[in-house]
């Protein structure tokens, strides 16, 4: 696959704030690429740079090999689905979709076929003549998608397109978005603060924090091998603990032994920082001589979460099934190597 959109050492400041600090990314043709991070991490600033609404102080943006850094939004082959959809309230669904093609001077018949195809694609044929005020949240979102996609952009930018919708609808639209992508094959750049959305939709994710890219990877690798403590904590739940390497694993500060996964080695005696996923820890019945006590039990349907405390350490542990331990119960802990990953902040 070719790199379609290349962001090369881009920086953008607002006063003293470094919204984007030397960000470089390479987005492939036809993939769903997510920019994921908490609010203020720079993901929206980056999206505005890609759309052309803002210009970087340093760095360049290339689209299909051409430098588009200075190209204004109206001349970029890039379209955006805005967070609040920004549908034109005085135009019908059909006229909203026709806005871009009309400006591009499409012929009448070309316009008609393209719009009918779009309406069918987003299943809005029966609402073609409605005004945006008459649409539901999901229908507005689909109209915004059709209005952007009808222009056949090289890249479709999506700015938290599901943030305004409720959970059930969000999950439903996520599936629709994925199948829509399969149909049109356009490169999607998807901005979100919701790791669940990013994980389930994206081919690759860039996790951003304070204007920098922490890690770019496939969802599964992000989860299994987080590169930094920030990524480990932002993607799912985790326990971040310090320890010292010994043969075959790591002796943690509270005495617990964590085996390292295959292929990961550390010289004995070095200080390490680890991420341990809660679902890769085992709880077993313990005795009074064991230091661990269950502090909190949270029933979560298919699984149960326990907060376990002892020797100054607090562990989050997730077990399948209903609660098996009561609060205050003495337990033993075991760490599975599959849930362990090394973090770079060792010793710091």
């Amino acid at each position: 696959m070719d790199d379609s959109l290349v962001i090369d050492a881009v920086s953008r400041r607002f006063g003293a704030l470094r919204a984007l600090d030397d960000v470089s990314l390479s987005i492939r043709e036809g993939e769903i690429f997510s920019l994921l991070g908490p609010s203020g991490c720079g993901k929206t600033t980056l999206l505005r740079l890609l759309a052309g609404f803002d210009a970087p102080e340093a760095g360049r943006i290339f689209l299909a090999g051409k430098d588009i850094t200075a190209l204004p939004p109206e001349h970029r082959p890039v379209n955006t689905v805005f967070q609040n959809y920004a549908l034109f309230p005085h135009l019908s669904v059909r006229e909203n979709i026709a806005f871009g093609p009309r400006l591009a001077g499409w012929s009448r018949s070309e316009l008609r076929t393209a719009i009918d195809r779009m309406l069918a694609l987003v299943k809005l044929e029966s609402h073609a003549d409605c005004k945006p005020a008459q649409l539901s949240g999901g229908q507005k979102q689909r109209t915004a998608l059709a209005r952007a996609l009808v222009n056949r952009p090289r890249v479709l930018l999506l700015d938290e397109p599901l943030a305004a919708l409720d959970l059930k609808l969000r999950q439903h639209l996520l599936v629709e978005l994925a199948s829509l992508h399969r149909e049109v094959g356009t490169t999607f750049v998807y901005v979100t603060h919701d790791q669940g959305e990013a994980m389930s939709l994206s081919h690759r994710i860039a996790v951003m924090n304070r204007g920098r890219v922490e890690q770019v990877d496939e969802p599964e690798r992000l989860y299994r091998q987080p590169a930094t403590a920030f990524v480990a904590a932002f993607i799912g739940n985790t326990n971040i603990v310090d320890g010292r390497a010994e043969s075959g694993g790591v002796r943690l500060a509270d005495g617990l032994f964590a085996p390292l996964p295959d292929g990961v080695n550390a010289a004995s005696g070095t200080s390490l920082r680890l991420s341990v996923r809660p679902e890769h820890m085992r709880l077993e019945i313990g005795g009074l001589e064991d230091p661990w006590r269950v502090a909190e039990v949270v029933f979560g349907g298919p699984h149960t979460q326990y907060w376990v405390e002892g020797r100054g350490q607090r562990w989050l542990i997730q077990q399948p099934g209903p609660p098996a331990f009561a609060r205050g119960a003495a337990v033993q802990l075991r760490v599975e190597s599959a849930g362990v990953s090394l973090l770079p902040e060792a010793g710091s």
Partner: protein, 287 residues
Amino acid sequence: MKHVFRGRTTEWLLTTPSLLWLAIFFALPAGLILMAAFRPADLHGGLGDGWSLAAVHALADPSYPALWFRTLWLSLVATLICLALALPAGYHLARLPRRRQGVILLLIVLPFLTNFLIRVFAWKTLLHPDGPLTRLLQNCGILSEDTLLLYNSGAVLAVLVYVHLPFALLPVYAAAERFDFCLLDAARDLGAGAWKRFWSVFLPGVGAGAGAGALLVLTGCLGQYVVPQLVGGTDNEMIGNRIVQRAFSDRNLPEAAALSGVLLIALLLVLMAQARKRRHSAREAGL
């Protein structure tokens, strides 16, 4: 207690004060004026007994069509100029930080604290053949020695625009302030240039405000008589001047009432057309 403000009866109760206000201060006087047009004039400048069509027949006076025409075009052009100034001004005003908006709005309303007549007189001084503006333009060679800035339709137009501009600007600003500027980004994203964004997105967005502003300006201009009298000279009379003349010089109230009646009915027709259009677009928006 929660349901006190519900239902048909309470709806009527709540609208009664404003309906009464309209009835006493608008419908009643308007009705009296229309009625006065069908009375004979008496010798003392009041209304005579009985009924007469003399004032209505007098509307056919051959001097009127030119006067109506001038009134109409001056008012329409003044309205268009006011809109042309108010739309970009309202746009930029709405994009300013809140505090700055307040300061500028205050500056716009400030001239209203000065008496209307004094403001028009100030223009008279400004445009006077010996006034600063004439001197300046003559010295720059833009204006020839024998051209007057005062006493022509240009002067009337300028002062009409000056006097009525806030009435256009304030409603346009109010609409622009509620306008979602994201829509302009969206239009730009879809390939629209600056003009296209203005005409196809901003203008429809503030259309209601612009319409209200235009109506306020048009209404004010059509009935205007002080401005043409002070800066227009003898050749730039508007229908308002003739109404004043009929009422106070000729002491013929019925003819003044008939002229006013025509103006009133014309404006009511415009208002009804606009209300109809608004209802229509509200229905379209699904409200």
